[in-house]
C-alpha cells in the first residue's frame, strides 16, 4: 500500500493495465512527452514508447473517432480529452458511433474504449475549463459514464473501465487531483461499473452525490453530526450511467428524506433522474420533498464567483436542515 494522490492513482491504473495488456494504448493531446497537462500520463511514454502513448494532432473528433477505429479492431484505446469542456468537438463521434456500433452491427462490433477527461470547477481556471456536463453522456444510450471520488476508487474504476467491453466516459474531478492522498493497494483492484457505494452510514437522511461534490457532502455530514447529532447516510454514485438506483432507494426507504448534490446545472441534471427514480420506487416512504443542491442553470462563472456557484458545505447543511424540518 502506498498513499497516493488521484493523479498518481490514475497513472498507476494506466501503467498496470498497459503492462498487462498490449492492446491498451493511450492517446491524446500532450499525453506523451509532456505526460499530460495534469501529468496524469507521466512516465508512460518513457516506459511504453510512442506507438502506445501517442501524442496526437490537436483535434478532438479525430482523437475520439480514431480511438473508435482502434477499438473496432480490438485494441483498447484510452484517449484523453484535455478538458471535458472540449469533448463537444468530438461529441458526435461518441454519440453517433461509439455508443451505437454494437447495436448497429447487431452485436458483431464493440467499442471497448475509455475517454478520460478532467471535469468540474474549483481550480481557478479559464472559461471552458471548469464545467460539469456529465448529463450529456449519461443521457446517451450505449455510453457508460463514470466519475470517481477518491484515489483508490479512481484507480479501481479506471481498471474496470479499460476492461469493459463497451465505451466508457470517465470524468476525473480535477479539483481532487491533488487534494488529498489515500492508501491505494499495489495489487490489482477493480470495481464493478454501475454500482454505487455507501460512503457514510446514517439513519436520519440520505445524501446522494459523486465526484468532487462528494467531499463537500462528506464534510457537511460530519458537521451535521458534530453540531447536531444528525446521522446522514452518504451515497457515492460513482457510475452516473448505468445508474444504480438499488442502494439509494433502499437508503431513502430507511431515512425518508433525501438531498442530491452535484455541481452540474440543475435542470435535467443527474439529480433529476435520481429524484424521479425515488418518486417512482419509494414514494410512500418519503417524508419530505427531495431537495437538489446543485450548480445553477448557468454557465459556470469565472473563478471570482465560482465559489458561490458551486454547492458547498453551508448550502448542503442548510438544505439538510430544511429537509429534516419539513
Amino acid at each position: 500500500m502506498a498513499k497516493m494522490t488521484m493523479v498518481q492513482a490514475i497513472n498507476l491504473a494506466l501503467k498496470q493495465e498497459m503492462e498487462k495488456d498490449d492492446n491498451v494504448v493511450v492517446l491524446g493531446e500532450d499525453v506523451g512527452v509532456d505526460g499530460g497537462v495534469f501529468r496524469v500520463t507521466e512516465g508512460l511514454f518513457e516506459q511504453f514508447g510512442e506507438n502506445r502513448v501517442m501524442d496526437t494532432p490537436l483535434a478532438e473528433a479525430g482523437i475520439i473517432g480514431f480511438s473508435i477505429g482502434m477499438a473496432l479492431y480490438g485494441l483498447k484505446p484510452v484517449c484523453e480529452i484535455q478538458f471535458s469542456g472540449f469533448t463537444y468537438l468530438g461529441f458526435h463521434q461518441l454519440e453517433s458511433h461509439a455508443a451505437r456500433l454494437r447495436g448497429r452491427s447487431a452485436g458483431r462490433f464493440t467499442v471497448p474504449m475509455v475517454l478520460r477527461a478532467p471535469y468540474g470547477g474549483g481550480v481557478r481556471a479559464l472559461e471552458h475549463h471548469s464545467e460539469s456536463r456529465e448529463a450529456y453522456f449519461a443521457h446517451t444510450p450505449g455510453l457508460k459514464m463514470v466519475i470517481p471520488s477518491s484515489p483508490r476508487n479512481a484507480r479501481a474504476l479506471l481498471v474496470s473501465a479499460i476492461r469493459d467491453p463497451d465505451p466508457v466516459v470517465y470524468f476525473e474531478p480535477k479539483a481532487l487531483y491533488r487534494a488529498f492522498r489515500e492508501e491505494v493497494p499495489e495489487d490489482e483492484e477493480t470495481m464493478e461499473l454501475g454500482r454505487s457505494r455507501i460512503a457514510r452510514e446514517g439513519k436520519d437522511i440520505t445524501l446522494i452525490s459523486y465526484g468532487a461534490m462528494l467531499h463537500e457532502t462528506m464534510q457537511a455530514a460530519s458537521a451535521l453530526h458534530q453540531k447536531q447529532g444528525i446521522e446522514a447516510e452518504v451515497i457515492d454514485l460513482m457510475t452516473i450511467a448505468p445508474l444504480d438506483d438499488a442502494l439509494f432507494i433502499e437508503s431513502a426507504r430507511k431515512t425518508g428524506r433525501v438531498v442530491v448534490i452535484h455541481e452540474a446545472p440543475r435542470s435535467f441534471g443527474p439529480g433529476a433522474e435520481v429524484a424521479v427514480r425515488l418518486v417512482e420506487k419509494s414514494f410512500l416512504y418519503l417524508e419530505a420533498p427531495i431537495r437538489r443542491v446543485t450548480g445553477f442553470d448557468l454557465v459556470i462563472p469565472l473563478f471570482q464567483r465560482e465559489k458561490a456557484y458551486l454547492p458547498g458545505v453551508d448550502r448542503i447543511v442548510r438544505a439538510v436542515r430544511e429537509t429534516l424540518d419539513f
Binding site: 494504448v25 506507438n51 501517442m54 496526437t56 494532432p57 483535434a59 473528433a61 479525430g62 475520439i64 473517432g65 480514431f66 480511438s67 473508435i68 477505429g69 482502434m70 477499438a71 473496432l72 479492431y73 480490438g74 485494441l75 484505446p77 458526435h92 463521434q93 453517433s96 458511433h97 456500433l101 454494437r102 447495436g103 448497429r104 452491427s105 447487431a106 452485436g107 458483431r108 462490433f109 464493440t110 444510450p141 450505449g142 457508460k144 469493459d164 467491453p165 463497451d166 454501475g194 448505468p242 445508474l243 444504480d244 438506483d245 438499488a246
Partner: protein, 363 residues
C-alpha cells in the same frame, strides 16, 4: 531573402484508361486475367440490378428510404476489387455494390432498409463495418482501424468511402491528417458524384479537385475517371500496395455522377435539369465496360443475357429470404438486444415494461 516557390512532394494526376466508347489505352491497361474482368462486370451489373429492384420495393411500400447507387458502380467495384478479404471496408451509405462484393448479403441490405436493425448485422469473419450515415464521420474509424493494423504489424489495409459533400466535413480533414501523421495503411476513396443532395460540387469547395485536399496533409492524391472501372481499379491497386508495403495512406477521387435521386425521399427536379443528367448517360460505366469486353472477345451478347438471368434469380431469392427473415423478426422486444454486453437493471425493467404491454395488447 528571395520569394520563391516551395516545392511540394506531390502533384495531382488524372487517370483514365477506358474511354466512353470502351476504347482502352493499352499502355495503362491493367494486367489482369479474363475471369477477373468478368467478375468486375458481374459486380457492377449486380449492383445496378439490385438498385433497380430496391427502388421498386421502396415504391411498393415494402421498404423505406435508401440511397441508390446507379451510375457509381465502377467507382465502387473498381476500388474494392483491389482489396483482400483480410482487408477492411468502411462504407458510408452509398456503397451497396461494394458491400455486396465484399460479402454483405442482399437480404441484409433489404432488411435494413425495410426497418429491421438486424439488417446491419455483419457475420464473423467479414471485415466490413456497417453503413455510417453521419456524413464523413467514418473516415476516422478507417484511420483508427489502420493504426491498429500497423500497431499489430499486420499487413492489412483499410479502405473508406465517402462523397464529395463529405470533404467539407471536419472529420474528413482530421482523418486525412491523422492518417498522414501516423502513416497508416488506409485508402480514402471519394465518390465525387457531383451532388450532395441539392448542393453541387462547385458549391462544396473552391478547390479545383477534391484529390488535392490530401496534399495538404502530406498524403498523395489522384483523380480518376470514376466511371472507368479499369482506372479506378488501377489507382486503387496502387494505393492498396502503397499502404500494404508500409508507405502510408492515399486518396482517390473518383469522378462520377449520381444518376438517380439522392435518396428515395428526394426530388432532384427541384435543383437540377434532366439535361445535366443526360450528358452522363453516354459515360455509363457498365455500357462502356461491356463494349470493351466484347471488343476483347471475352464476352458476347448471349453471355450477357445469361448473366442477367442469373443475377435476376439471385436477387429474387434474396428478396424471398429477406421476407422470410422479417417474419422471424416480428418481436419488438428485440430492440433491447445489443445495447451493452449486459443489460443493466433499469433496462431490464424497461424491457419487462414493454413485454407486459405487448402481452396485454395481444389478449
Amino acid at each position: 531573402m528571395p520569394r520563391q516557390e516551395i516545392e511540394l512532394p506531390y502533384r495531382i494526376d488524372y487517370l483514365s484508361i477506358l474511354d466512353e466508347q470502351g476504347k482502352v489505352d493499352q499502355d495503362l491497361e491493367p494486367d489482369v486475367d479474363k475471369d477477373f474482368l468478368l467478375k468486375l462486370h458481374r459486380g457492377m451489373l449486380l449492383g445496378r440490378r439490385f438498385d433497380e429492384r430496391l427502388l421498386q420495393l421502396q415504391r411498393q411500400g415494402r421498404m423505406g428510404t435508401f440511397a441508390p447507387i446507379t451510375g457509381q458502380e465502377a467507382a465502387q467495384i473498381g476500388a474494392v476489387a483491389a482489396l483482400e478479404d483480410s482487408d477492411w471496408l468502411v462504407p458510408s451509405f452509398r456503397e451497396m455494390a461494394a458491400e455486396i462484393w465484399r460479402g454483405k448479403t442482399m437480404e441484409n441490405v433489404i432488411l435494413l432498409y425495410a426497418g429491421y436493425n438486424e439488417g446491419g448485422a455483419i457475420p464473423d469473419g467479414l471485415n466490413n463495418l456497417p453503413i455510417a450515415i453521419p456524413v464523413g464521420t467514418q473516415t476516422l474509424h478507417a484511420a483508427g482501424i489502420a493504426y491498429a493494423m500497423k500497431y499489430r504489424q499486420e499487413k492489412h489495409v483499410a479502405m473508406v468511402f465517402f462523397g464529395d459533400g463529405a470533404t467539407s466535413e471536419g472529420d474528413f480533414h482530421e482523418a486525412l491528417n491523422f492518417a498522414g501523421v501516423f502513416q497508416v495503411p488506409v485508402v480514402f476513396v471519394c465518390q465525387n458524384n457531383h451532388w450532395a443532395i441539392s448542393i453541387p460540387r462547385s458549391k462544396q469547395t473552391r478547390s479545383k479537385t477534391l484529390a488535392q485536399k490530401a496534399l495538404a496533409y502530406g498524403v498523395p492524391g489522384i483523380q480518376v475517371d470514376g466511371n472507368d472501372v479499369l482506372a479506378v481499379y488501377s489507382a486503387a491497386r496502387e494505393a492498396v500496395e502503397r499502404a500494404r508495403s508500409g508507405d502510408g495512406p492515399s486518396m482517390i477521387e473518383c469522378v462520377t455522377y449520381r444518376m438517380s435521386v439522392h435518396t428515395t425521399a428526394d426530388d432532384p427536379k427541384r435543383y437540377r435539369r434532366e439535361e445535366d443528367v443526360e450528358g452522363w448517360v453516354a459515360k455509363d460505366p457498365i455500357t462502356r465496360f461491356e463494349k470493351y469486353l466484347k471488343s476483347r472477345k471475352i464476352f458476347t451478347d448471349k453471355k450477357i443475357e445469361a448473366i442477367e438471368a442469373e443475377i435476376k434469380q439471385e436477387i429474387k431469392e434474396a428478396v424471398e429470404r429477406s421476407e422470410k427473415k422479417m417474419e422471424e423478426l416480428g418481436d419488438p422486444l428485440l430492440m433491447f438486444d445489443h445495447v451493452f454486453a449486459e443489460l443493466p437493471p433499469y433496462l431490464r425493467e424497461q424491457h419487462e415494461e414493454l413485454r407486459k404491454e405487448l402481452r396485454q395488447d395481444s389478449t
